[in-house]
Amino acid sequence: MEQDSAGAPARASLLNDPKARGLFYQLVLIVALVTLGYVIVTNTIANLERQNIASGWGFLENTAGFGIIQSLFPYSETSSYGTALLVGLFNTILVAVVGIFFATIFGFVIGIARLSNNWVISRLAYCYVELVRNVPLLLQIFFWYFAVLRAVPGKREKWSLFDTIHLNIGGLRLPKPIWEPGSHMIGIALIVAIIASIVISRWAHKRQDATGQQFPMFWTAVGLIVGLPVLAYLVMGMPMYWEHPNFVETGPILRRGFELNVGINVIPEFLALTAALAIYTAAFIAEIVRAGIQAVSHGQTEAAHALGLRNGPTLRLVVIPQAMRVIIPPLTSQYLNLTKNSSLAVAIAFPDLVSVGGTVLNQTGQAIEIIGIWMGVYLSLSLLTSAFMNWYNQRMALVER
């Protein structure tokens, strides 16, 4: 910095003043962004006018006119585009929930297997992780859909497990529960059981804090949650039965195969997508679980043993709660990745949000609206997840000094 003759620091020139410079940079950024935005908007408006595409959400009311192979609620070709997109959204959520469920189970099993003392088991888990992580997910989806699920028996044949679960090229057939009048009591019983379990567990915790006596909470909860609905089922005169898929083996060749709309049919697109997603994500979850468990210092286990805890309670009460602290944040991002990756459904034409949206886009040309819907949905999922993660982190974070 220059100094004048009196020795007092000179006023820094505006060019060297960090504050002024900061303001200048930010101003430049704002101007650049606004200009960019203006150019994009004017160009887009001009382009849309030239192509005669009306912008706006009106098209959502128009008739879609295409069929969707799987929907969770009634949908037909006469439904509107809006309904079609809703079907896609629910299919995305369905894939995500089922995928997350299986990915978590596989991931934890494999992650623990990688830490096994048994050399064969830990090597197997290691190979699984490395093989699955280093092959693109899309390739795995194709593999399951085009290679594996095309190698199963054709429409007129089937593979069966215990004569209740059947697989052929049409997909997986499962028995379907049919609810008769009075069956709502089973649901009510289930809800009551869950509430009762929560209340009893609170009470048990309080009692243990006060007296040190433990209460067999786990078995009580299992008894309640399984027992009460079964009891309700019996009391109400068994108002539920299983509708088994009906396989026609005799008669004219074209009539053979599974009867339509009997039992549950899980379409092959869904099977391939969830299988690939679950297996792929499980490899990542396994590494997270392994890192989490390894992050808990062995001294914790030793201290627990010194206090007289056996292996089971040590794991459940000491190691896992601390490991979860490390596991949950990356695990949540894996869940989010799985949800986002479910958009690859478009490659095998499973009607998820992106796939249905793509069809609508092709038919209407409403590119901006459709892509806006996609991004809005996935962004809000992401933001919800990160909000949850921050909340959980704050709750679980180690409180130091």
Binding site: G22, Y25, Q26, L29, I30, L33, V39, I40, N43, T44, A46, N47, L48, R50, S116, N117, N118, W119, V120, I121, L124, E130, L131, R133, N134, V135, P136, L137, L138, L139, F142, F143, F146, A147, R150, K340, N341, S343, L344, V346, A347, V354, G358, L361, A367, I368, I371, W374, M375, Y378, L379, L381, S382, L383
Partner: protein
């Protein structure tokens, strides 16, 4: 009393006995790691059964039953009702397409030169003890892209054709995969670093813009980004201006992976102690020299695994371009299935297996290299 020996002095060392057989060598290792208890033994047996049930059919398919040579599908058709093994003859016949796409046969030498230059520049760059690192890096990051661009697309100066133009629509296979992956990687790293610095900046607007940018791209699936770049980007441009399809995809992929890169770099920046900044400032360094000389080298070194992970993710994600109608390696393989000359029951399995092997080699290689570099660059004290 005195002549009674009360103690004994050993005059020679006791012979060293070998450890019991049951604790050393193969047997000891097996006892400890495989058969230490009944449950462990059961696990071993189950594990071996699982491994066998996966490896045996695989070897049967890929090697034992495989067909290595043949002119067309006749060679690979399964005999007497068997399912048949891998049809490597088909992969052999299609290999040029898998590597170059529909690039004109007469011009393939240009692609080969690009491949060769790439390897020639990358290997010494990746080799820690090779000399001329700086020259090498400049050649790889600045000269090579320009040379590669003109070699691949063609060169016309003042009406005279020096290299005939090859449209990107004719590119395909590994060429497209590598072009997207390498461009994405090279372009997203500086952008990611800039975004990470922006996110940690004290200037509120720069910080906010960076955060919005990062969170936006990280929050949406890559597919929607690709759709956006292929459908929406043309709408943003003035009339008459068109972007090459490959370029549009490249922009989308770069912006997408830059956001991920930014978060990785941010992690590294956060791990640098404040004293390093203060030390740099005490030396009188300004912002950029401080970042370039002191902070970024340390921060980037810390996050090498994360950066490589992003690279691997990007490399795998290049397959998604097939959804917007471009033919990367997987797309090229997928499209070859429609050719009746080679249609056999095992064609799909063989094609996917080939793709899986290629991707695995690239991705696994990258992850091994990152572990190697991590150990190499580890200058601190390892616990």
């Amino acid at each position: 009393m005195s002549d009674t020996k009360m103690f004994q002095i050993r005059t020679e060392e006791a012979p060293l006995l070998p450890a019991p057989v049951s604790t050393t060598g193969v047997i000891g290792w097996m006892r400890q790691n495989l058969f230490s208890s009944i449950s462990n033994t059961i696990l071993t047996v189950v594990g071996i059964l699982i491994a066998y049930s996966i490896v045996a059919p695989f070897v049967q398919f890929a090697l034992v039953d495989a067909v290595w040579n043949g002119e067309n599908r006749e060679a690979c058709l399964p005999q007497d009702g068997a399912h048949g093994g891998a049809c490597w003859a088909y992969v052999k016949a299609y290999l040029p397409q898998f590597i170059y796409g529909r690039y004109p046969t007469d011009e393939i030498w240009r692609v080969n030169i690009v491949y060769a230059l790439f390897v020639l520049l990358l290997v010494p760059l990746a080799w820690p003890s090779a000399p001329f690192k700086r020259t090498n890096a400049i050649l790889f990051l600045v000269v090579f892209p320009i040379v590669a661009y003109f070699l691949l697309t063609g060169l016309v100066i003042g009406g005279s054709v020096i290299l005939p133009i090859v449209e990107t629509a004719r590119w395909g296979g590994l060429l497209v995969t590598l072009v997207i992956a390498v461009t994405g990687i090279v372009a997203s790293l500086p952008l990611g670093i800039a975004l990470a610095l922006g996110r940690r900046s004290k200037m509120p607007i720069i910080k906010m813009v960076s955060i919005i940018f990062i969170e936006f791209w990280r929050g949406v699936p890559l597919i929607t980004v690709l759709f956006m770049s292929s459908v929406m980007l043309p709408l943003f441009l003035p009339e008459g201006v068109t972007f090459d399809k490959l370029l549009r995809v490249l922009i989308g992929v770069t912006l997408f992976s830059a956001a991920y890169m930014a978060e990785v770099v941010r992690g590294g920046l956060q791990a640098i102690p404040k004293g390093q900044y203060e030390g740099a400032m005490a030396l009188g360094l300004r912002f950029w020299p401080m970042m370039y000389l002191i902070i970024l080298p340390q921060a980037l070194k810390l996050v090498i695994p994360g950066i490589v992970n992003t690279f691997i993710g990007l490399f795998k994600d290049t397959t998604l371009v097939l959804i917007v109608g471009m033919f990367d390696l997987l797309g090229q393989i997928q499209s070859s299935f429609t050719d009746p000359t080679w249609s056999t029951p095992s064609q799909g399995h063989t094609g996917y297996l080939f793709a899986a092997i290629v991707f695995f080699i690239f991705c696994f290689g990258m992850s091994r290299y990152s572990i190697f570099m991590e150990n190499k660059l580890h200058t601190g004290h390892k616990r």
